[in-house]
């Protein structure tokens, strides 16, 4: 009963205000009025006849374009009030949906993502099996759970359909999973028609999990409202929330009004169109987003704000950095990497059309770091962050990259995680190589170095034979395998592809792919065919192994050997030894190469002789092994596979080369470190124990 009254008050007070405000502050001529949600008893089809015709607005307030950039399917108008003490959002959501599916729709599935953070959910079940980076579930308490409940849903013209709601579990049939709810309509929505849903919902945020929720007095509002699925390839695509999956949604317009205490500093997707203080010590901030497919927000009373402007190709971008007080000295680092990344992305892939970008430095120890939402990303740093440790740069670059690979090129993250995380990891390597150096983009302290491309490859080689790239994100063996394959393998596969089609061609293909598929939902074949088209090559032999399969590459230099051609004579004749010293001896040399695993790929090998001569050979790699032989007045010194280091997917880099004579210096160098550590340990024991 109490909820009902709250519901009615919300309708009466906020819904008209929200729409009126939007019409006043945005272009608004085309912004539809969201009619007040009537009381349950008053909802009739007759009322719908009197309502204004509904549509999706063609606003451009939040983009540097005078016309919409995406095919807008949805318009979310949300009026939400956040209780900072209880971490609860009570809200009214008005969702306008444009049926562009070409067929009548009689049911609509909705994501209720926050229900993932319940003990019996599929998300938690999987996280317990596969490992979670966020929570120790043995210590997980009820106050840390999350939930999302639709209190009431009305379809304009069809009345209150709350009773029609039904939880479904399309992926695993888990009856306790409440992350997807399906609504059956009384009458189907005709092709081309609009339908408007009016939803009263309550979301209780969890203590941060999966980059959403609260921690201390901080909150990150991600995946916090009922969100309709995507009609894709002739069916609804609305997966349950899994421990390893992210999201998928249609483009549209967002008008979100948030009411929360006045001391809160707020950041959100889109542009701020209104901020006003209320008499009850609350404030109401209103944001508007165009051509985006999600909306996230954050609030904390302690953010320190740094703002600046970036002149992008399509117009100015307002950069806003919400920093933790203890990280304020790193604000400049955050801004620098954001600007440099923007510069590379605009030059290499395409323009960034939005007017804002908010970079959030989330609460420490909050599991909210490193997340992407449209025009809104979270970084990840700590109070102690040496300049040579590039963690903040890597995270900010990566999450910004998602503005392109997820934000604009909106692939299905449930089914093709490699297309957002992996392609983004590839461009991350390219961008960070160019900004921070190829071998130093991750770490460069006291001569100790680590490059981002190495890091990606290392994350892959540990799980190389576990899963394929092209499989659903929730079907990976483990969280580690998901990470190693979707991020690490994809980046390594695309870097290796540069060696096959050329770096410039690959760059052109990436640019073409972005320009062709931005503001759409491309498939894996769209991406792969673009590369084939741009390169003019049939690359199926590569994609079938690298993308669709899980074969592992491991080539090795099996053996190198040189001996005098006339060895039998020299054995008898001691003068021959002298001849050899004069360099007249002709040697028979062999270099044997071996394909140890099942990934077949042509490779180059470079053979060096002791007279300084170098020979390059090509091997198609089809047989298990091959042998090159030479007769020269020189012995083989070394052989190296992939001398240009273009292959990133070889599981073992050590056996890719072989020296005729061992070089003990590297092992001595490393052993010296080991010795030093052992002696230090001994002395420390001697210091304290006796």
């Amino acid at each position: 009963m109490q909820i009902r009254w709250t519901f009615v008050i919300f309708i009466a007070v906020f819904a008209p205000g929200l729409t009126a405000s939007m019409n006043r502050r945005t272009v608004a001529a085309t912004t539809p009025q969201a009619p007040p949600l009537p009381a349950r008893t008053a909802a009739t089809a007759e009322n719908a006849k009197d309502a204004a015709p509904i549509s999706i607005p063609e606003t451009t307030l939040a983009i540097n374009s005078d016309k919409p950039m995406s095919q807008r399917v949805v318009h979310y108008q949300i009026d939400a009030k956040y209780d900072t003490g209880k971490h609860i959002v009570d809200a009214i959501e008005v969702l306008t949906y444009h049926n562009l599916t070409g067929q009548a729709l009689d049911h609509f599935p909705f994501h209720l993502y926050q229900n993932a953070f319940q003990p019996k959910s599929t998300w938690v079940r999987e996280a317990k099996i596969q490992g979670s980076r966020d929570t120790d579930y043995e210590k997980w308490e009820e106050k840390q759970y999350g939930s999302e409940e639709i209190k009431r849903i009305e379809v304009v013209g069809q009345g209150d359909l709350t009773a029609q709601l039904q939880y479904i579990a399309p992926d695993d049939g888990n009856k306790d999973d409440k992350t997807v709810i399906d609504l059956h309509l009384i009458r189907p929505i005709a092709p081309g028609a609009y339908v408007q849903f009016k939803i009263a919902f309550r979301t209780k945020f969890p203590e941060t999990q999966a980059r959403s929720g609260w921690r201390r007095d901080f909150v990150l509002g991600g995946q916090w409202f009922p969100k309709v699925g995507v009609w894709w390839h002739g069916a609804w695509n609305c997966h349950q929330y899994h421990a390893t999956t992210e999201f998928f949604a249609d483009f549209g317009v967002y008008d979100v009004k948030l009411t929360l205490p006045q001391n809160e500093i707020v950041g959100a997707s889109g542009v701020l169109v209104e901020a006003k203080n209320n008499p009850d010590n609350t404030q109401t901030v209103t944001y508007h987003g165009d051509d985006i497919h999600d909306f996230a927000w954050t609030a904390s009373p302690r953010y320190k704000i740094r703002e600046s402007q970036y002149q992008a190709q399509m117009g100015p971008i307002q950069l806003r950095f919400l920093m933790q007080p203890a990280h304020w000295s790193q604000a400049e680092r955050h801004e620098r990497i954001t600007r440099e990344t923007l510069d590379r992305f605009e030059k290499w892939y395409g323009p960034y059309p939005y007017k804002t970008l908010t970079v959030v430095d989330p609460e420490p120890d909050s599991a909210a770091g490193g997340m992407e939402y449209p025009t809104f990303i979270t970084g990840d740093t700590s109070w102690f962050m040496p300049e040579g440790l590039h963690l903040p740069e890597v995270v900010v670059e990566h999450e910004f990259g998602h503005q392109y690979w997820y934000g604009m090129v909106a692939t299905n993250e449930f089914e093709d995680a490699w297309m957002d995380e992996g392609i983004n990891s590839y461009t991350e390597v390219k961008v960070l190589d160019s900004i921070l150096g190829k071998n130093t983009s991750m770490l460069n302290i006291a001569g100790i170095t680590l490059g981002e491309r190495e890091e990606q490859r290392l994350s892959y080689i540990g799980v190389a034979d576990r899963d394929a790239m092209a499989q659903k994100a929730y079907e990976y063996y483990s969280f580690g395998s998901y990470g190693g394959i979707t991020y690490g393998k994809t980046a390594s596969v695309l870097l290796t592809l540069e060696g096959v089609i050329g770096e410039d061609t690959m760059a052109k293909a990436m640019h073409t792919y972005f320009m062709k598929y931005c503001f759409t939902h491309p498939t894996k074949e769209d991406f792969l065919k673009t590369i084939e088209e741009v390169s003019g090559k049939d690359l199926r032999w590569y994609f079938n192994q690298a993308v669709y399969g899980s074969p592992v590459m491991d080539y090795e230099v099996l053996d190198i050997n040189s001996f005098p051609v006339n060895w039998y004579e020299e054995k008898k004749d001691k003068k021959a030894a002298k001849k050899a010293a004069e360099g007249d001896t002709v040697y028979q040399s062999y270099v044997s190469l071996h394909r140890k695993n099942d990934f077949v790929m042509p490779v180059e090998v470079e053979i060096k002789f002791d007279n300084g001569e170098t020979v390059r050979e090509h091997w198609d790699g089809k047989n298990r092994w091959t042998r090159f032989s030479y007769q020269k007045k020189a012995k083989v010194v070394s052989a190296q596979l992939d001398p240009d280091h273009t292959v990133q997917i070889d599981r073992n880099n050590f056996n890719n080369s072989r020296l005729a004579e061992p070089n003990a210096k590297p092992v001595h160098k490393v052993a010296n470190f080991w010795l030093f550590i052992t002696q230090c340990l001994s002395q420390a024991l001697g210091w304290w124990a006796v």
Binding site: W383, T449, E454, N653, A664, P666, I677, S682, L685
Partner: protein, 323 residues
């Protein structure tokens, strides 16, 4: 301060006059260290020796190459290289306990302690030192456990604060307190070690008790000297590492070896200095003074003259009782 200077100076003097002990311990340290490194070399050698990829470790220090080496199946379990390192470190600890009594006796001697005396002292005090180490281990372990527990609880509480740095400060403060307490305990047991050796004290508990009283009686003085020696050790270590990183070319393996070993050699000095300080303190404050007793010599008795000028008549000689 003057007293401290006296302790520091005399302690350092003992170390410098007995440099051979530091050399011996250094030789022991490096030999056992080499023993602890053999396993690692045997594991890494076959991977690195014939590969050009290992050049990236030589020309710089590629963490990626190192991680890949550790992850190779042929490298074997990491325990195979860690276990010998830990074993030989423990062996060094045992060797220190074994030879330390000789060092302390040498520091207390005004002459060069002959080898046979050195080893005799070592043997005589071995069991006493083992008992003392057990007591010290229990006391230090319990106190450290309690302190770390308290520190952990305070840090956890501080982490609830919205001030991110509060938990950092609490952690640092806690570590400082733990370090100081552990140093005090170390002083206590160092004094006990000295007392056991130099008093030839069989009853370890008596030395522990005496040392405890002296530790708290001269706490400020002893703690200051110990902290100074610790700071010197920290400077030596940091200086050595900086020299290694800044001035030794990445591919200069011999240079790196020399710098690292010199650092380790000098790193031994501050601890021996602390031991010299405890020996000096023991000699100044804890040594029971030996009272020399000499036989009384007979002296001729001179009779004073009478003031009126009359001759003094000598009396009968004093009877001396026969002993």
């Amino acid at each position: 301060m003057i007293e401290n200077k006296g302790l520091l100076g005399s302690g350092l003097g003992k170390v410098l006059h007995n440099q051979r002990y530091i050399v011996w311990f250094y030789v022991l340290n490096i030999l056992l260290g080499l023993g602890g490194t053999v396993g690692f070399v045997n594991q890494a050698g076959p991977i690195l020796d014939h590969s050009l990829q290992s050049g990236r470790l030589l020309r710089g220090f590629s963490l990626g190459v190192l991680i890949e080496m550790f992850s190779r199946p042929e490298f074997g379990p990491s325990m195979a290289s860690r276990a010998p390192a830990i074993f030989f470190a423990l062996l060094f600890l045992v060797a220190t306990a074994l030879f330390l009594p000789g060092v302390l006796q040498g520091y207390a001697s005004t002459y060069r302690l002959p080898s046979e005396d050195f080893f005799r002292v070592c043997g005589r005090n071995l069991w006493r030192f083992i008992r003392l180490m057990i007591v010290a281990g229990i006391v230090m372990g319990v106190i450290a456990g309690i302190l770390f527990g308290v520190q952990g609880a305070l840090v956890k509480k501080a982490e609830e604060s919205t001030n991110e740095l509060l938990s950092v400060y609490v952690r640092l403060a806690g570590l400082t307190v733990i370090f100081l307490v552990m140093t005090v305990l170390r002083i206590w047991f160092d004094l006990a070690e000295v007392d056991i050796v130099l008093s030839d004290q069989r009853a370890v508990r008596k030395s522990i008790g005496t040392s405890l009283r002296h530790t708290f009686r001269s706490l400020g003085r002893l703690l200051a000297t110990y902290l100074l020696a610790t700071m010197v050790a920290a400077i030596v270590l940091l200086g050595g590492l900086c020299t290694w990183m800044k001035f030794v070319a990445p591919e200069n393996v011999v240079g790196a070896f020399l710098v690292s070993q010199l650092t380790l050699l000098f790193l031994l000095i501050p601890r021996f200095w602390q031991r010299g300080i405890t020996v000096s303190y023991w000699q100044q404050q804890m040594m029971v003074p030996v009272v020399a007793v000499w036989p009384i010599e007979r002296q001729p008795v001179t009779m004073p003259e009478v003031s009126d000028g009359a001759p003094v008549v000598p009396g009968p000689p004093l009877a001396i009782p026969e002993s």
